[in-house]
């Protein structure tokens, strides 16, 4: 054999049929990931369509901000009054948050298997660009599929929350001729977001260097380092907050209401981001010592509470992204609970200010807001359950090993419950306290009311929210019980 010039090593993009074939959903985790992602995308799409539809309700010519819209009769005042409408838009937009958190968790379903698969494909010669192409294909198609459900879902919601309700209380405007256009735009946005998430999802060692060997060798992959990205988001939102605050007080014009809402939205986002950061940090660093120190009595030790606390802490540590994103959403839901607590307290204490019609109006508003918050909290909890059950699947060997060492299934369920409540309860309670106390401060200043009663109301609401979310966690664990038992099956100890 003689010297030959080295072959040029240029890579071309993969043919579409190959990408399609390789990105095809095969395992049950693939299908769950795709379905959950599509559901999250559908949720985001519906929330966006709702926001657009509400925002597009036409005003009457009268400059009065509380003028009712004539074009869409029968709407609830929160939608028909142009001054209240931005609040409704805001509520719809806030619904995007829990669904976004769900999407983040959904994309992580089976991430360990995906990670390994990426390593194996790389071993067989897939370039980083090839792997990216496959990931983008998968996430984009899941987002698109979810987006396709958005408009039909909006129609169903309109039937339920619009047409089915008596005139004057309808919560969604009738679909307009431009709905398909808005749908198309939402689809394009979702496809873009999906593609972006596909590029961003850190599945392989994208620092190409050790990509293959790392994927093959280091199978105990941890999920992501969230902190840098989130600090960037937090500072961005903070900057937006400062700018809009400056505009608001600088102009003092009639645009102040939308600006105020923008300000409020930015503040909520900032709070959520900071909460996400703190919660993720807390989960990531949740020291075993602190978890176990709470277990003191001999009886608790005998029951294995120390082991449960330790395992739950380890589980949360292993997935700080889930704890952070989901915790942030739950924190925002808590904020809204706190604000409503103040409103409800004011209704029952300051009887002189309201006529019966007013009272109904406010209670109705608070109920709608609470429903939005509850939906958000449930979706967030679902996201957390999704991440936990995926974590169970990924760590089934260690779960099985722990079970083999003699931790009975009931205790394993306890680990899941503990991991869920340790994330969810502090997030909701602190959100409710922060939101309630802040709003109470503003409200008391404005109305010269009694601080004590409001504080008591906020406290009561926070405790209630904490209890409710703890119960919800128990419920989720009951739903997950089958998966926990499956993960603890001793046969997982045999397979490599």
């Amino acid at each position: 054999m003689t010297a030959t010039a080295p072959t040029p090593l240029a890579a071309r993009p993969l043919p579409a049929e190959v990408v399609r074939e390789l990105a095809r959903l095969r395992s049950s985790a693939d299908h769950l990931r795709a379905r959950a992602t599509a559901a999250a995308a559908a949720g985001i799409g519906v929330a966006l369509l709702m926001a657009v539809s509400v925002a597009a309700i036409p005003n009457a010519n009268d400059p009065d901000v509380y003028q009712l819209s004539a074009a869409q009769p029968g709407l609830a005042p929160y939608l028909s009054q142009s001054g209240l409408r931005p609040g409704a838009v805001m509520a719809a937009l806030l619904l995007v948050l829990p669904f976004a958190a769900l999407a983040v968790q959904a994309l992580r379903v089976g991430s360990l298997a995906l990670h390994r698969q990426a390593g194996l494909l790389a071993l067989a010669g897939a370039t980083p660009a090839d792997l990216r192409q496959m990931r983008v294909a998968r996430t984009r198609s899941a987002f698109l599929r979810g987006g396709l459900y958005a408009a039909p879902a909006y129609l169903v919601l309109w039937l339920l929350l619009g047409l089915a309700l008596p005139p004057g209380t309808r919560l969604l405007p009738a679909p307009q001729w431009w709905l398909p256009l808005a749908w198309a735009v939402v689809l394009a946005v979702l496809a873009g977001v999906g593609a972006l998430l596909g590029v961003r999802t850190p599945l392989t060692g994208d620092n190409e260097e050790d990509g293959v060997s790392a994927a093959l060798v280091r199978l105990g992959a941890r999920s992501g380092r969230p902190v840098r990205l989130w600090w960037a988001v937090a500072s961005g939102v903070a900057a937006a907050l400062v700018v809009s605050y400056g505009i608001r007080w600088g102009s003092g014009s009639d645009y102040s209401l939308p600006l105020l809402l923008l300000l409020l939205g930015a503040a909520v986002l900032l709070a959520a981001t900071c909460a996400a950061l703190l919660l993720a940090r807390w989960a990531a660093s949740s020291p075993v010592g602190r978890q176990t120190r709470r277990v003191r009595s001999a009886r608790q030790l005998r029951r294995g509470d120390a082991a449960v606390a330790m395992l739950a802490g380890a589980q949360r540590r292993a997935n700080p992204v889930a704890a952070g994103t989901v915790g942030a959403v739950l924190f925002v839901c808590g904020l809204s609970f706190g604000v409503e607590a103040v409103l409800v307290t004011s209704m029952f204490t300051a009887t002189y200010g309201y006529g019966t019609g007013d009272l109904l109006f406010y209670i109705g508003g608070a109920a709608v807001a609470a429903t939005v918050a509850v939906v958000g909290a449930l979706v967030a909890l679902l996201a957390l359950a999704l991440s936990l059950s995926d974590h169970l699947l990924a760590t089934r060997r260690s779960v099985a090993a722990v079970a083999a060492l003699g931790l009975e299934p009931r205790r394993l369920l306890g680990v899941q419950r503990r991991a869920l409540t340790d994330t969810a309860v502090p997030a909701v309670v602190s959100g409710s306290l922060v939101g309630g106390l802040l709003y109470q401060w503003v409200y008391v200043l404005e109305h010269l009311a009694d601080v004590g009663i409001y504080s008591a109301g906020v406290l009561a609401a926070s405790v209630l929210a904490g209890v409710l979310i703890a119960l919800a966690c128990r419920l989720v664990v009951v739903l997950l019980a089958g998966r926990v038992r499956a993960a603890a099956a001793l046969e997982h100890l045999r397979t490599p």
Binding site: L9, A11, L14, S27, A113, L121, A122, A124, G125, E208
Partner: protein, 232 residues
């Protein structure tokens, strides 16, 4: 005792003073090695001697922290991840000890991977993969999932995939360590077959009977070449 390719042969692989460490633990220290066309080189040593790291560096899976690696005329220091992936799917074959088939793809598509990734049409790649599977006696397993194969069958499928591109050099890391003697023998015969067309085989093994199949032994100890001997 020492060796090297005859002067008329350009080495397929040349390692020169290669060092690598994981965190602070050195895995390879100043290792030099050449592999000539048609040669079977056994890299031996106890566990932790740096054998696998040597393979990962030589095959371009891992970038060494010091020293040079010339693989098939490419100086790997100047070759990015994409080009190294292209090299893997077109000119070199890699066989490892454990799972290397993508669990979700049927065996046929697994074997076809290097070709499909390299731009072949699915149909053409699958035809070639069917031939490659026939070569290793696995025609019946084409549509099976990798999990349904026995260890020996999975390893033969991995060999079929590694050989489907007619690579000029094949790296095998403990290819038979988890197989029984008969299955191991089949896999080794398949791998050694590449030398007939002038390709080289680098065999990482701790098993003396496997090492004794090579033309040359390079023995590692604590990351350094302890001894090198021609067995031919």
């Amino acid at each position: 005792m020492s060796t090297g390719p005859s002067p008329d042969q350009v080495p397929l692989l040349e390692l020169d003073g290669v060092s690598h460490a994981y965190a602070r633990t050195p895995a390879l220290r100043e290792v030099s090695l050449t592999v000539a066309p048609g040669e079977v080189v056994a890299v031996t040593g106890s566990s932790g001697s740096g054998k696998s790291t040597l393979l990962h560096v030589a095959a371009g899976l891992l970038r060494p922290q010091a020293g040079r690696v010339h693989l098939l005329g490419h100086d790997l220091a100047g070759v990015d991840a994409t080009a190294r992936a292209v090299l893997r799917r077109s000119e070199i074959g890699i066989v490892l000890q454990y799972v290397q088939l993508v669990p979700d793809l049927p065996v046929l598509d697994n074997v076809a991977l290097p070709l499909t990734l390299n731009g072949s049409s699915l149909a053409a790649a699958r035809t070639a993969a069917a031939d490659a599977l026939a070569e290793v006696g696995l025609t019946d397993a084409a549509s099976a999932a990798p999990a349904e194969l026995s260890g020996g069958q999975a390893q033969r499928a991995a060999v079929a995939r590694a050989l489907i591109t007619s690579p000029r050099i094949v790296f095998a890391d403990e290819p038979v360590a988890s197989l029984d003697p008969v299955g191991g023998r089949q896999v080794l015969d398949l791998l050694r077959g590449v030398t007939a067309r002038g390709a080289a085989l680098v065999l990482i093994t701790h098993d003396n009977t496997v090492a004794a199949l090579a033309d040359r032994e390079v023995r590692l100890r604590q990351g350094s070449v302890e001894h090198e001997a021609v067995l031919r």
